[in-house]
Symmetry: C2
Subunit: 253 residues, 2 copies
Amino acid sequence: VFAKKNEHTGAMSASRTARDRVRDELTKEILAVAGVHLARDGADGLSLRAIARDLDMAPSALYRYFSGRDVLLSALILAAYESLADQAEAAAEQLAPLDQPDGAAWLAVPLAMRAWALAHPHEWALIFGSPVPGYEAPQATLVPYARLARAFVLPVRQAQAAGRFASPSMALPALETGAETDALRAALVPVAESLLPDAPLAVVADALRAWTTVIGMISLELFGHWRNTILEPDVFFTYTTLSLAGTLGRSAA
Amino acid sequence: VFAKKNEHTGAMSASRTARDRVRDELTKEILAVAGVHLARDGADGLSLRAIARDLDMAPSALYRYFSGRDVLLSALILAAYESLADQAEAAAEQLAPLDQPDGAAWLAVPLAMRAWALAHPHEWALIFGSPVPGYEAPQATLVPYARLARAFVLPVRQAQAAGRFASPSMALPALETGAETDALRAALVPVAESLLPDAPLAVVADALRAWTTVIGMISLELFGHWRNTILEPDVFFTYTTLSLAGTLGRSAA
DNA sequence: TGTACATCAGTGAACGCGCGTTCACTGATGTAC
DNA sequence: TGTACATCAGTGAACGCGCGTTCACTGATGTAC
């Protein structure tokens, strides 16, 4: 028995009618077709009329399901975030045993992110590319975004749990004076608290740098900037990501 | 005396007429107005009609100067590349004396890139953001792109010239077997040859990683991904860029 | 220096396009009694 | 179980918008003799 909220009266009814089921199906179908269009034409090319054409519907019929183009686009963006977060979490869960060598554990999520990006280039661009002008991503994306970040940082937390990051108050190699260290600490408060509580500051900074580098590598590759620069992006990606783990290790050693 | 090529007959005439001067001026003016539009509305929002409106011209008049929207956009993209390369080169030239501490020399170009990006967010997005669908950047951008990369890498070359990278055949810390090292070397052939000839492979890889990280930091900041993550992007940027120099030093030590 | 002609800049109207969104409507499905 | 009514899905026509581009044209600038 499903609870169904009638949008117009606000009343609750206890049964799901056949109409409800059809409606849910068509909603999914619209999202699926729209997703194909998004993947093919990008966000700016997303056209309600084109989607309706593919579904053999009148354009106006779509307004029964989404109150406008922006609402549909928001739903697609959210779905992209969730798809990426799902893939990253799946990769992170497989390294739970932790009896594998560190490198493989650390590589898992970045490799999953890259694989997802190569399979969904337009969606990656939607998340990490230039923001669509005059359009703001829905707040709800913060949830899958946090899941993604958490998956990325999991090996660091595991290393910490295993006691490999001994001293929480260690000095930063590149920052000698207390004032500069304090400034960095203040700048990174939100990440430190939500993702890596009790981790040494240098580890937090290095994790953020690794995050930046991985996303940068994927974006540069995807957006065509390795042309005439790097012949085999995957080799470079793997090597560099591994070297980031080395830095993470060193900075807390 | 200017040489002027008559586009229709192919003949050369020796004098620049008043018409030629007016034409050059208006061409610049169109580019300037179009640049403002590009900075305000992004590439997709670039409209010939809107530009003509701002110039108090008929839309069709623009076709005397640019044969279509795509040609104008190409010119703007090229101008953006050149502006960024100019700023980076200017920053690089100021560190020519080299008697300043390494950190400052290394920071100069990245800081200039970030400053340019903050001043020209849409142009940055045009260069490093998602590619405009159905549109390919002109080949001519490769020239300023190479200038930018060369400026970025200048401190590394200077360090090399000063003899700080001793052994060209040093082992890679994270890659032990020869096969993996060879694969990386093969993957990075173009960069190594054009930007850092005779540098140790690890230095080439680290420089590329630094390039990726700097661009990643700027893009993530500009595209709004530090929201709820990093409170003071400039502190993080400076610290991280400095730490990249540390890595570059270490990997060749 | 003056005249006939060629070249070019810019105009204004028009074409055709695809778009998001609205609206009155028909017919089917669900609900209350 | 049957009937009257409310709700909802989907239609098809229409509105208004801004766009890139074309084209015949007018008038000014430059060129050749």
